[in-house]
């Protein structure tokens, strides 16, 4: 039996405010709350809430045969809690049906998997804890930010205890292979890989309302037929998209919600079912997929060039991650919060010369200037906590001494008592 594996990405970056260099050292608040709230409300009302309602309906009316998965970034969760808690409730209602899987990912929608292993681990754990706290389920399947993946990243993920990873079905990785099978890691065979069918996925996100597309209009009937007509051996169709495809990229009036409503009925008619990624990965893998260099689901080349493709981006990323260890030593809440959100990939994408869609800035240079000013302030704050004049190792030793101060004192006091007692005796 063929199965469709749906997974929707929910991510919205915080809107950063215009931060001029005169603010460096004076103003430590980087966010434009008004824009953040406005955008989140728009996404919630036009996309998340109506789509969640439809999914809940589909699950109930299909007698729990409809299934799907979500990955919700930490920054999106925080914003939802703050500005649209009803969306959290509706996700919880979906979670309670047992038909919806929540995936693990780095909390800050970051590239930490590339730049800092320690940070990557922390963020994945933080995200998993947050998901468990909100939806009562510990994630078992992993998807990296923007589906960034390589053999090396696969190792790190396996080390964190995840058995399944979602990757892009990029042509240069798959070669002649089809994305519609389960694969595994080349030297960690227990790690299962699912590959995104980007052709089918992009038809929904980008082509649905494109009148000059030769397959326009896209109906649920037609879409499911494509899957039904695929070779019999291809069992799993990974349709993974940004959740905002429903209602924001494809507006309500294009009929995208009707499409979503009609899809399961059409699928069941042709004997096609639905699975979550964790269930999909139970099928035995057919082959290994190997990638020496990281690839992802963005851009024409599907490599990191969207976020680290030019000198501006590299400079910003290197400066940012140069303080990773220090920030993680420190305890100040605001600093840690800013640290997580400064890592969000969107800000680096705005500095791209070729892929800066949705950028609030007039040019990549403008984006860079704004980001670097904030970063300069942030670095000063980190420096104030832990001066850069002290080496990381020395700092670690000093901190260890400080943190263990109490323990040492207690020990010493105990031995003093002991000695005194002995003396008396």
């Amino acid at each position: 039996m063929k199965n469709i594996c749906f997974y929707f990405e929910v991510h919205v970056p915080y809107a950063m405010k215009r931060y001029r260099f005169f603010e460096i050292g004076k103003d430590h608040y980087y966010y434009d709350d008004f824009t953040t709230e406005q955008r989140l409300r728009e996404y919630a009302e036009r996309s998340y809430l109506p789509a969640n309602n439809i999914l809940l309906d589909l699950i109930q009316s299909s007698n729990k045969k409809f299934k799907c998965a979500f990955s919700i970034s930490g920054s999106a969760l925080e914003q939802l809690e703050m500005y649209a808690p009803e969306v959290i409730d509706s996700f919880r209602a979906l979670a309670d049906t047992g038909c919806v899987e929540f995936l693990a990912e780095p909390y800050g929608h970051s590239l930490s998997s590339i730049y800092n292993d320690g940070e990557f681990e922390l963020q994945v754990k933080q995200q998993a804890a947050k998901i468990e706290e909100l939806f009562g389920k510990k994630p078992v399947t992993f998807r990296n930010t923007e589906l960034v993946y390589s053999d090396e990243i696969g190792e790190k993920i396996a080390k964190l205890g995840y058995k399944t990873v979602l990757v892009e079905g990029a042509k240069h990785i798959l070669g002649w292979k089809s994305p519609n099978y389960v694969y595994n890691h080349p030297y960690l065979p227990k790690l299962r890989l699912l590959a995104r069918n980007y052709v089918l996925s992009n038809h929904i996100t980008f082509e649905f309302s494109n009148t000059s597309w030769d397959e326009y209009p896209l109906t649920a009937d037609k879409f499911v037929n494509w899957i039904a007509q695929a070779p019999e051996e291809e069992k799993i169709f990974n349709i993974w998209l940004g959740y905002e495809s429903f209602g924001i990229i494809q507006k309500d009036y294009t009929g995208i919600f009707e499409f979503l409503k009609a899809l399961p009925t059409q699928a069941f008619k042709r004997g096609i079912g639905f699975v979550t990624p964790a269930e999909a990965a139970k099928t035995a893998p057919v082959d290994a997929l190997s990638a020496s260099y990281p690839f992802c689901w963005t851009g024409e080349e599907k490599n990191l060039s969207t976020w680290a493709g030019n000198q501006l981006q590299e400079e910003a990323l290197n400066k940012l991650y140069s303080v990773a260890e220090r920030v993680n030593l420190c305890k100040e809440k605001a600093l840690k919060h800013d640290w997580l959100h400064l890592q969000c990939t969107d800000y680096f994408r705005y500095m791209s010369f070729k892929n800066a869609w949705g950028s609030p800035f007039s040019s990549p240079y403008d984006a860079f200037i704004n980001y670097m000013n904030m970063l300069a302030d942030f670095l000063q704050r980190v420096d104030a906590e832990y001066p850069t004049s002290i080496e990381n190792e020395e700092l670690n030793a000093l901190l260890k001494t400080i943190n263990e101060q109490e323990k040492t004192i207690n020990e010493l006091e105990a031995s003093v008592k002991q000695l005194r007692a002995r003396k008396k005796a």
């Binding site: 001029r20 260099f21 005169f22 460096i24 030019n310 000198q311 501006l312 590299e314 400079e315 910003a316 010369f353 007039s362 040019s363 240079y365 403008d366 860079f368 200037i369 670097m372 000013n373 300069a376």
Partner: protein, 417 residues
């Protein structure tokens, strides 16, 4: 196809961007082998590059019949043109221009500059145009800037050939909106008579449509390009401790020098590692010196006076930032020159060249904060300096005149039916 062009300046004797643009454009158009260009300027000096077009000096074209021997003409003009050409023009004088003062050859003396009696020179240029229109054959007339519109119109009236006018600037750019009615009248008449209008940017095109009330269908944009600097590698940055931020251009209302001074004052509040220079001269120079003193930044802000030729390029090459906060700039060639020598540039969104450049920082001319921020970033963050420098140079080297020439040719083909 033969084109008769009326211009005012031609390198190497130039006073502003008009001469550079005229040269570049004709040079680029000369790549088209089936196009012959005759370029008229008021006063050639004899050292102009004539390898790709025919240059006619209006000051050598007789407008009043004077009896002269072949030998005398040869003695007077032989170094510049063949005496037979003089007699050919003389045979085609159809109107009585004796009211105009002429020399022994019946020719008018032109200054070729922008003298006080500019309007008179414009009228005289029109007289020359009538003689040329009668004696030459051509398919299209092309007038560069308002000074030459009357000449173009007269040539059109006589020959019946289509007139294309090239708007390098309008009086709205030069005056921040307080236009001179006489100039406006000349510009408006030229635009009304033109079969097609070429503007150097969409910014100028909008001015032409909105302020001169011209039908948008006959107004096109052909962006200027830039000539490669032949010895570009000979300009190297001298190593200096302090960064240099340069404003280079006429210090006039149009260029927005006061916004530069204000931005400089803001940058200096934060970093001391930078100096500012204002190169050029103009009617607002003294006011700017006052302003600099008033802001208390005179120790870090320098006036170089007027620079020419190689000095300009050297100055640009030695700067870390080039900035031009023009209030209204139809195109802006010096920005492109700065980028050619790898100097990052900050330009106003009100500059025509902003429309075609990606690797320059664009701000509103009044947005002092944004400008200061951009200066600070280029001075403080090496990555942005290097990217702007490299990408900017690559970008500007791709903007060539032959592409602009092809666009002009398309317009010719459309008006010549």
């Amino acid at each position: 196809m033969k084109a008769l062009m009326f211009g005012w300046e031609f390198p190497p004797h130039i006073l502003g961007g008009l001469g550079t643009a005229s040269y570049g454009l004709t040079r680029g158009m000369a790549e088209q082998k089936d196009l012959e260009i005759t370029f008229v300027i008021p006063k050639p000096y004899g050292d102009e590059d004539q390898s790709f077009l025919k240059l006619i000096g209006a000051c050598n074209v007789p407008v009043v019949w004077k009896e002269n021997s072949w030998e005398h003409v040869n003695y007077r003009l032989g170094g510049i043109m063949h005496p037979d050409e003089y007699f050919w023009y003389r045979d085609h004088i159809r109107y009585d221009f004796r009211r105009i003062g002429t020399n022994d050859l019946g020719c008018i003396e032109f200054s070729g500059r922008y003298p006080d009696n500019l309007l008179q020179e414009i009228d005289n240029y029109e007289a020359v145009a009538s003689v040329l229109a009668h004696s030459l054959t051509f398919d299209v007339i092309h007038s560069h800037d308002w000074l030459t519109y009357p000449a173009g119109i007269f040539a059109k009236q006589i020959s019946g050939k289509p007139l294309v006018i090239h708007v390098h600037a309008t009086d709205f750019d030069r005056s921040r909106g307080n236009v001179n009615p006489t100039v406006y009248a000349i510009e408006k008449r030229g635009m009304d008579w033109a079969d097609h209008i070429i503007c150097v940017s969409n910014l100028t095109r909008n001015t032409v449509i909105e302020k001169y009330h011209i039908d948008p269908a006959k107004v096109s944009t052909v962006h200027n390009a830039v000539d490669p600097i032949p010895d570009v590698d000979s300009f190297v940055k001298e190593p200096r401790k302090e960064k240099l931020v340069t404003f280079l251009g006429r210090i006039t209302m149009q260029k927005g020098p006061e916004y530069f001074v204000e931005a400089a004052a803001r940058v200096l509040q934060r970093t001391k590692n930078v100096r500012f220079a204002m190169a050029g001269s103009g009617d607002m120079m003294n006011a700017m010196i006052d302003l600099v003193a008033n802001r208390g930044i005179a120790d870090r802000f320098h006036f170089t006076g007027f620079l020419k030729g190689r000095q300009v390029t050297e100055m640009l090459a030695n700067s870390e930032v080039y900035i031009m906060p023009s209030v209204s700039e139809p195109f802006g060639i010096s920005q492109m020159e700065a980028m050619q020598v790898g100097t990052p540039s900050i330009i106003s969104k009100q500059s025509g060249c902003a429309e075609i450049l990606d690797h320059a920082i664009k701000t509103d001319y009044w947005d002092i904060d944004a400008m200061a921020d951009a200066i600070y970033a280029i001075v403080e963050y090496p990555a942005i300096y290097e990217t702007l420098s490299k990408e900017g140079r690559d970008e500007v080297n791709k903007i060539t005149w032959d592409k602009a020439g092809l666009k002009v040719r398309e317009i010719y083909n459309r008006v010549v039916r």
